[in-house]
């Protein structure tokens, strides 16, 4: 890249004048300093304000300088670059804040005591108590949902990839796509109207896992489908040529080849539904006591626990600490699932000749 050396004006060269490579960084530092300075001078408290001031100064500043030195086209290019960087930072700052606040406030009460006690005899306003009952409930509900959704999802994907032709397959593909967009609360309302209102079953962990399974199926179908499509056709043909029945070819050749990707997809789906609150709120109802039986009576669940602790504490006191600690537990759980899933994907990636 030669233009790094071509900084400053150079009469007689073929290139126009270019600003040095460190220029954007200098403007960024200057804009941040100015943003902080203005905020301090004007007595602004909120970090959003100084960040916005700095962002605007950065874009305007780099445009102004570049327009003078490099000309308008280059200046526009720099503005676009600045805006793209600002867009990126705008997205990263909240995420960093979210992770930071959750960790910092969550570690206060997160310990083994917290993980192994329930809220049974602890009032919302008192310190102590824990998330054991919620953890148990979440694991059971998510486990049941996985048991229901995985066979349906994987078989549907197999149908679409290995057999599917014609209108039925097209309809299934379309509705799987549409199903990914169903709001979780609507899935919850559906199970509510069928299972609880019409069939007169009570609130239970199982009712919640029915709704969670509905949310899980399309995610599993999509990811499994993509993985099965990556299996090289030669493997299928070789197996079929040996006279192996199609169903055994699928079970013994195609699925094992793609199993890494399928596992990843399933784990990502689990990670996604673990944090679902709305259906659980409608169907599982929540309790402060340990209920190990998901098939009868209300259970607790982790996201639900966060919601209850938050809404009962009004943003202060021990309930508030517990909500953050539970949120940290939930995020950790989901992040670990995510990381493991990605690890498996990398480790067991199908060795196709792409």
């Amino acid at each position: 890249m030669s233009h790094a050396t071509l900084s400053g004006k150079r009469p007689g060269g073929l290139r126009g004048a270019t600003l040095p490579k460190w220029f954007p960084w200098a403007v960024a530092v200057g804009a941040t300093a100015a943003g902080l300075g203005i905020s301090a001078a004007a007595g602004l408290q909120s970090s959003i304000q100084w960040a916005l001031i700095a962002a605007v100064l950065f874009i305007v500043g780099s445009y102004a300088v570049s327009a003078r030195v490099e000309g308008r086209r280059q200046a526009k290019d720099r503005t676009a670059t600045s805006m793209v960087w600002v867009a990126f930072l705008l997205a990263v700052i909240p995420l960093a804040s979210l992770v930071w606040e959750t960790v910092q406030r969550g570690v206060k009460v997160l310990d083994t005591y917290f993980l192994t006690r329930s809220m049974g005899v602890v009032a919302d306003s008192e310190p102590g108590g824990g998330i054991y009952h919620a953890l148990l409930g979440t694991l059971e509900q998510v486990g049941l949902a996985t048991l229901m959704a995985v066979p349906v999802g994987v078989l549907t994907a197999i149908y679409l990839v290995e057999y599917g032709r014609g209108n039925l397959a097209r309809a299934v593909t379309f509705f799987v796509d549409v199903m990914t967009g169903i709001p979780s609360i609507v899935a919850g309302l559906f199970v509510l109207s069928l299972w609880i209102v019409i069939l007169k079953m009570g609130y239970s962990g199982f009712a919640g896992s029915l709704a969670l399974a509905i949310l899980m199926i399309p995610v599993i179908v999509r990811s499994t489908e993509e993985m099965l499509k990556l299996v090289p056709n030669e493997l299928r043909e070789a197996s079929l040529a040996l006279g192996v029945p199609k169903w055994r070819t699928i079970l013994k050749v195609v699925v094992p080849t793609a199993i890494g990707g399928i596992t990843t997809g399933v784990m990502l789906a689990i990670a996604r539904i673990t944090g679902e609150t709305a259906p659980v709120l409608l169907l599982v109802w929540g309790t402060n006591f340990i209920n190990a039986n998901p098939f009868s009576d209300p259970q607790a669940s982790l996201p639900m626990y966060i919601y209850l602790q938050y809404s009962n504490s009004g943003g202060e006191g021990p309930g508030y600490d517990r909500a953050w600690a539970a949120a940290l537990t939930l995020i950790l759980f989901i992040m670990i699932l995510n990381l493991v899933a990605r690890g498996i994907a990398r480790w067991k990636a199908p060795k196709s000749g792409r």
């Binding site: 606040e101 299934v172 109207s193 938050y310 949120a327």
Partner: protein, 334 residues
């Protein structure tokens, strides 16, 4: 795992001696094959049945509820299904849902497109992988945690911004602020924007990746700057993809429940200003009213859920149709 293959395997080219569903043409189907085909086709049909059942059962309960409603379901500004006579309507909810989603889109779409461009065209190679991963993490954070963060961290930070908006744009009426806690539709919009960023970013990124390299190189060869390349070669090619990505994001924003329920301080009225607390959305209303709802109240909530279902179905269906027209990419694994 960006799958952009042209369907490399699946339904293979017509194999001699096999019919469509892979049966041997001789007519002697192996029982194993028949059972397995039945199972997998059954699962596919089950998906359709579930979708149909959702529509049917929601409609059934909703019709019961709307039949007892003494007020106009679509225009009433009230939610009192257990009253005598029961009166409830979705006007406020429809307004709040649409307005908060529009705010979310207005904030999220430019930023998401910016990030997608950043990842595909601006970021150093070494950075773009980890950043894409960070964006995925953003998608993995559960909405309840966004809600907690929004209510306890974001809301207190917004006073200053609201003050500004009131000072400089208050005259429009839309941005007038009377100093209440900033738990308003606008705050909800900001939070929703954050939550739908990842899906819009991921789908847009896929689209930007598919811009033919030749177009970009041709533009560069003509002396275009990077921005001119993007404006002349990338954006025109990617427009429909970005639109459908935005619609997928819109679908998410419309149905978001817990974060809205935790941040919004709701009330059953429509105000001209976005910054004062009040209003409500379909999903938020269901989550907040459900605990105290009578049987009639539950059915009324189901009726409002049906409206939400239909809206999201239309938005998602439209987005999918636009995507389906260009088979190469799909946002479902985003």
């Amino acid at each position: 795992m960006d799958i952009t293959t042209q369907n490399p395997t699946a339904p293979p080219a017509p194999q001699p001696g096999r019919t469509e569903d892979g049966r041997a043409a001789r007519g002697t189907t192996r029982p194993g094959d028949r059972i397995f085909l039945g199972l997998s086709r059954g699962s596919g049909i089950l998906v359709l049945v579930i979708m149909a059942a959702i529509a049917v059962f929601l409609t059934y309960r909703a019709v019961l509820a709307i039949g007892k409603d003494e007020a106009n379901f679509f225009t009433t500004f009230e939610w009192n299904p257990s009253g005598v006579p029961p009166q409830f309507g979705i006007a406020v909810l429809a307004f709040g849902t649409v307005v908060s989603s529009i705010i979310a889109m207005a904030i999220a779409v430019p930023i998401a497109v910016g990030i997608a461009l950043f990842l595909t065209h601006y970021a150093p190679r070494r950075l773009s992988g980890p950043i894409a991963y960070v964006i995925d993490l953003l998608a993995a954070v559960p909405s309840i945690v966004y809600g907690l963060w929004g209510a306890l961290v974001l809301v207190p930070q917004l006073d200053g911004l609201y003050g500004w908006l009131d000072d400089y744009l208050g005259w429009t009426g839309v941005f007038a602020w009377n100093g209440g806690a900033p738990r308003s539709l606008f705050t909800v919009g900001i939070l929703l924007a954050l939550m739908i960023l990842p899906i819009i970013t991921n789908v847009s990124r896929e689209v930007f990746r598919q811009v033919p390299q030749m177009h970009e190189e041709a533009a560069l060869a003509l002396g275009a700057t990077r921005w001119e390349v993007i404006r002349m070669a990338v954006l025109p090619f990617a427009r429909s993809g970005v639109i459908s990505a935005s619609m997928l994001g819109l679908g998410r924003a419309l149905g978001e429940t817990m974060a809205v329920a935790m941040v919004l301080s709701s009330s059953f009225d429509i105000q001209a200003t976005l910054l004062d607390p009040g209003g409500g959305t379909f999903a938020q209303n269901i989550a907040s009213k459900f605990n105290e709802a009578s049987e009639m109240g539950r059915d009324a909530l189901i009726a409002s859920g049906l409206v939400l279902f239909v809206i999201t179905l239309l938005v998602n269906g439209a987005a999918r149709l636009i995507i389906a027209r260009r088979k190469e990419y799909s946002g479902a694994n985003a």
